[in-house]
């Protein structure tokens, strides 16, 4: 199996394609809807409102400490749905396979997806595979879509934040981006940072149980915490104040940021969320988060104000303040 590779014939739509799906994809995503192998999955829905999302995954390298492209694809899509307060109903996954991709790697990615889907309690109900020539896709690209049901009465969005809201994060920030960066080996850094990649729908469910009226939920992926806070401040036309000393960042992540001159507020996370919670419910929500395995290190980092709408102000440990702007362009390592 080690030497078996994807070839262009696997993408031709004939028997080899069928065999690929039977041998590799079906066993990982086995569920009644997918087994039907129809052109579409049909899902009964009772909710008035559906959350609907799509995403593409092009991460390099495919495998990194704490996860891989497969786990990322499932968690990322589930999390997009969860940030709307939705219960995931089903995902789709389309695969663009590069000719030459080893079937062993493919198997590992699919197994990861199976594991993540199990954790999230969600099924992949439809999929597609295409094969492109060597060099046209770095091993593997995955595109997903996800659909979820939003419970009645839950209205969560970037424009829902209100002055007085308490802002909390579910855990330390930056682990994912730093884990991937170190796995790329570009800067010869050695350390033990693992991606935080995880499906957050269970955590969100626990939080909503404590307070159905949560105002905003975002997972700080590309662009990091700063960008998400800025987007909410602007969509809701409120001010955001963050206590720098309260933002949890692991020592190793800080160490890498120091070495590269990176700002940890812009790092991508794939298993963390930021919540804007009405003041009265904050304590209960925080408690609910801390009880959940993915929220054990949850903590309050700031609050929403009436002043300075659209701006994110950071209170620094020495008692001063400065602006926290959204990410502008790629962060390059710097020496100055």
């Amino acid at each position: 199996m080690k030497d078996r590779k994807i070839t262009l014939s696997h993408g031709a739509g004939g028997k080899l394609s069928h065999d690929l799906i039977e041998e590799f994809f079906l066993p990982c995503f086995d569920n009644a809807l997918l087994r039907a192998l129809d052109d579409s999955a049909v899902i009964p829905v009772q909710s008035q409102r559906l959350a609907f999302t799509t995403d593409s995954y092009v991460v390099k390298p495919l495998f990194f400490p704490g996860g891989d492209i497969g786990r990322l694809a499932i968690c990322g899509t589930v999390n997009d749905l969860a940030m709307a307060g939705a219960r995931p109903l089903g995902l789709t996954a389309s695969f663009i396979l590069e000719e030459g991709l080893s079937l062993e790697d493919l198997t590992q990615v699919l197994a990861s997806m199976k594991g993540a889907a199990l954790e999230a309690g969600v099924h992949v109900v439809a999929g597609d595979t295409k094969v492109v020539e060597h060099g046209a896709a770095e091993g593997l690209y995955i595109t997903t879509a996800g659909i979820g049901a939003i419970p009645d009465g839950v209205v969560i969005g970037s424009a829902q934040a209100k002055p007085g809201d308490v802002i909390m994060v579910s855990g330390p920030l930056g682990d994912h981006e730093i884990a991937v960066l170190m796995a790329r080996g570009e800067f010869s850094l050695q350390g033990e940072v693992e991606s935080d990649c995880a499906p957050l729908n269970g955590l969100v469910e626990a939080m909503l149980k404590a307070c159905p009226a949560i105002h905003s939920l975002r997972d700080p992926t590309r662009g990091g915490l700063a960008t998400v806070l800025w987007e909410i401040a602007n969509a809701s036309k409120v001010g955001v104040v963050v206590e720098e000393g309260a933002v949890p960042i692991r020592d190793q992540v800080k160490g890498v940021c120091d070495l590269l001159g990176f700002d940890p507020y812009y790092l991508a996370n794939e298993g963390r969320l930021v919540a804007f919670v009405p003041e009265k419910e904050a304590k209960a929500v925080l408690k609910a988060m801390q009880k959940h395995p993915l929220g054990k290190e949850a903590t309050v980092i700031g609050k929403v104000t009436l002043e300075n709408p659209g701006k994110v102000l950071l209170h620094t440990p020495i008692g001063g303040h400065r602006l926290l702007e959204p990410l502008s362009g790629e962060q390059f390592p710097r020496i100055c």
Partner: protein, 77 residues
């Protein structure tokens, strides 16, 4: 114009290279500019080179002196 990061030397390999620990993350650092450094020393690192020995005891002492001075200054004003 210079990011200088403090780190601790955890190993010295050949060719004047050392492994330096920065908060749990490690990278190879050249000792060409500071060959007298030893395992266990703290140093300031810039662009992959140790630039100078960093004395944590002295640093702590300086801080305490400042603290005391300000305390005295506050009392006398």
């Amino acid at each position: 114009m210079c990011l200088g990061i403090p780190g601790k030397i955890v190993a010295i390999t050949e060719n004047q290279l050392a492994v330096v620990d920065f908060n749990g993350v490690r990278r190879e650092v050249s000792l060409m500019l500071c060959p007298e450094l030893e395992v266990g020393d703290y140093c300031l690192v810039h662009v992959g080179f140790a630039m100078q020995r960093l004395d944590p005891a002295e640093a702590q002492e300086t801080m305490e002196l400042l603290d005391q001075f300000l305390e005295a200054s506050g009392e006398s004003s």
